[in-house]
């Protein structure tokens, strides 16, 4: 007789989706943080004349 253990398969598929999605999201978030850091570095390196003046 075929055992009724579909819950284990469902749990495995949910865990797999969570791990891969969380990892993909972590890469995106880390990349965004580095881009923000780079933008700050670029802004501080720019000569004062090229900086936008206030309105």
């Amino acid at each position: 007789m075929t055992p009724d253990n579909g819950g284990f398969a469902t749990a495995a598929y949910i865990i797999t989706a969570i791990v891969y999605l969380a990892y993909a999201l972590s890469i995106k978030l880390r990349e965004r943080r580095i881009r923000e850091h780079l933008a700050r570095l670029d802004a501080s390196a720019r000569p004062p004349s090229s900086r936008p003046t206030g309105a």
């Binding site: 993909a24 890469i27 670029d42």
Partner: protein, 235 residues
């Protein structure tokens, strides 16, 4: 010399099409595996764990850690920072795949063996490799000087990858509860054709996902190195 009009930082891609396509492919595999693939008579629906467990193991252990080893070897020879970034990215993505293997395996084991975990050669050596890759990534964050960091990591990466053939052969060398390979073996896969189709579709989808994650992780590493370079320039 850079001027204010030149783009200083590579622009962020608006959409990561490769990642989107890979996630769609994996979603398609989920639908096929859970709804359109027959249930194995003796093991029940838990046998469907194969399509995420074994495929993640093939991609993580053989492709990701294989690439890490090749890139590390080439780095030691050519001393190209790009190769170090490939090795680092491949190791981290491979760790993600191995985490899935170690998380889904016990769910399958519980239904078939009646135990979540057993300290047999295949499971123990896979867990050991997982810890070595964690150590590899910790080593990378602990050494500041880029050349030394890349050299140490390359050596550890090559040594770690030597475990992969041992993990593959462990089911032949030792008496283990873990089953023999049903796909990666000299003879034809021992599965009905419908299950084979699902299995190989899942393998392709997870290879595509690996490529997308590797590309995104490599891009992130390139930006991080650029930021470190700028910090040095600015003192």
């Amino acid at each position: 010399m850079t001027t204010a009009s030149e783009p200083l930082t590579p622009p962020a891609p608006r959409h990561d099409l490769l990642l989107g396509a890979a996630l769609l492919a994996v979603a398609g595999v989920y639908v096929r595996a859970l709804m359109f693939t027959p249930i194995e008579a003796r093991q029940g629906a838990a046998q469907k764990i194969l399509y995420v467990h074994a495929t993640s193991a093939i991609v993580g252990l053989y492709i990701a850690f294989g690439l890490m080893a090749v890139a590390s070897l080439l780095y030691l020879w050519l001393k190209d920072a790009k190769l170090d970034r490939v090795a680092e990215s491949s190791a981290e993505v491979g760790l993600c795949y191995t985490t899935v293997v170690l998380a889904t395996g016990p769910l399958w084991g519980k239904t078939i063996w009646g135990a979540w975990w057993t300290w047999d050669a295949r499971l123990t050596s896979t867990l050991f490799l997982w810890f070595i890759i964690v150590a590899y990534l910790l080593l990378r964050s602990a050494v500041e000087e880029p050349g030394r960091r890349a050299r140490y990591a390359a050596v550890l990466g090559i040594l770690a990858s030597l475990l992969v053939p041992f993990i593959h052969l462990s089911v032949y060398l030792f008496r283990t509860l873990h089953p023999m390979p049903i796909v990666l073996k000299p003879s034809a896969p021992s599965m009905p054709s419908e299950m084979q189709l699902t299995f190989f579709s899942a393998l392709l989808a997870f290879i595509l996902l690996f490529a997308a994650l590797l590309r995104a992780r490599y891009r992130m590493a390139t930006l991080r190195d650029l930021a470190a370079h700028r910090e040095q320039e600015h003192g």
